[in-house]
């Protein structure tokens, strides 16, 4: 799937650029974004190290368990396949909270850590196949929950808006609605396209 999307982006860019006469710009973009990607990764290494260090402390002290216990009722509903008081549950909570507060520098490291924890719990034999929990986690992430869209407010202020903060409430309402819908959608889709591990279980159940 991702192969086709990637192919589409590349081929479409070159074909369109051929007609719009922007082949040079497309070539320049390819080279410069390759560099940008490495810059982002290097910048991420620092914050990643910071948060993984802090989280390791929280784990050793038992705070991770405390947080996980507190949110386990919610996690149980949305992520029925993972231990509600485990590491993955905490990582997911930390990622969602950081996202909501607009702390992108913390949200991505927590998100990547959550993916690692979820990969450890991946029930599929082939670990290159996404688990249901991973898909649900990413659906929540792509819904874009954010309480303060700071960069958007900055753009509005720069354009002479009288009250840039007036978009906060509509943004919170919008992302909350989308979040709920995203969870519903991902749950419907996981029934329609079951996880390989669950299909095998069902088969084994029928044969027994």
């Amino acid at each position: 799937m991702i192969n086709y999307i990637w192919l589409f982006f590349i081929v479409a860019s070159v074909v369109v650029a051929f007609f719009t006469g922007r082949l040079k710009e497309v070539g320049d973009a390819a080279i410069s974004y390759a560099g940008v990607a490495v810059q982002i990764s290097i910048a991420l290494m620092g914050v990643m190290a910071l948060w993984l260090g802090i989280m390791r402390i929280a784990q050793k002290s038992g705070m991770v368990k405390l947080i996980a216990k507190a949110i386990s009722p919610v996690i149980k509903r949305i992520f029925p396949d993972i231990p509600p008081d485990g590491e993955a549950a905490t990582d997911i909570t930390m990622n969602v909270s950081a996202n909501a507060l607009g702390l992108n520098n913390a949200a991505t490291p927590f998100g990547l850590k959550a993916m690692q924890s979820l990969q450890k719990l991946n029930p599929n034999k082939d670990k290159s196949v996404a688990s249901d929990s991973m898909c649900t986690f990413l659906a929540i992430n792509t819904a874009g929950i954010q309480f303060i869209p700071a960069s958007v407010m900055a753009v509005l202020a720069a354009a002479g808006s009288d009250n840039p903060a007036e978009i906060i409430a509509p943004c919170i309402v919008t992302t909350s609605i989308v979040l709920v819908l995203a969870i519903i959608i991902v749950k419907i889709l996981e029934r329609l396209f079951p996880e390989p591990a669950k299909l095998e279980k069902r088969k084994a159940g029928k044969n027994a």
């Binding site: 914050v47 819908l181 991902v186």
Partner: protein
Amino acid sequence: MLKDIILALSYAAIPLLIAIIVLHASAKKVPVYEVFTQGAKQGFVVGVKIIPYLVAMLVAVGMFRASGAIELMAEWFAPVLAAIGMPADLIPLAVVRSLSGSGSLGILGEIATANGGNAYVTKLAAVMTGSSETTFYVLALYFGSVGVTKFRHALAAGIIADIIGIFVALFIGNLVFG
């Protein structure tokens, strides 16, 4: 009032979180410095691991934006989106918001400059941008970091949620500012 509370909370969040975790751990006799460095080591592994996926996705999206394909897509979608009452100015934004965060902010900037910071279109665009997330980037990065190549329904869920998000943003924006 609510805004001030939320803003204060987001400024204080990182320093407080770090302080509370470290203090709580030292009360529990955890050797905080040593444990921190053990955990921090992992950061570099993850940072290196995601480089190929970031390069692949950012290059592809960067090429796509530079080619002018987004304007073309916006033109194709225009009749459909106009039918549901979306101002034409917002169409490129609807396409870009799932692809690139800096791209959507750039378009928002253009709309705001052209129409003024207090215009209805600008406010709609702001809600659309403020409620968006770069789905393709998130999927490529998060799945790439753990070696998952078969995304299953995550992609469809993300795209459907993005499309619904456009409508919800328009609806709420219209309700509040219209």
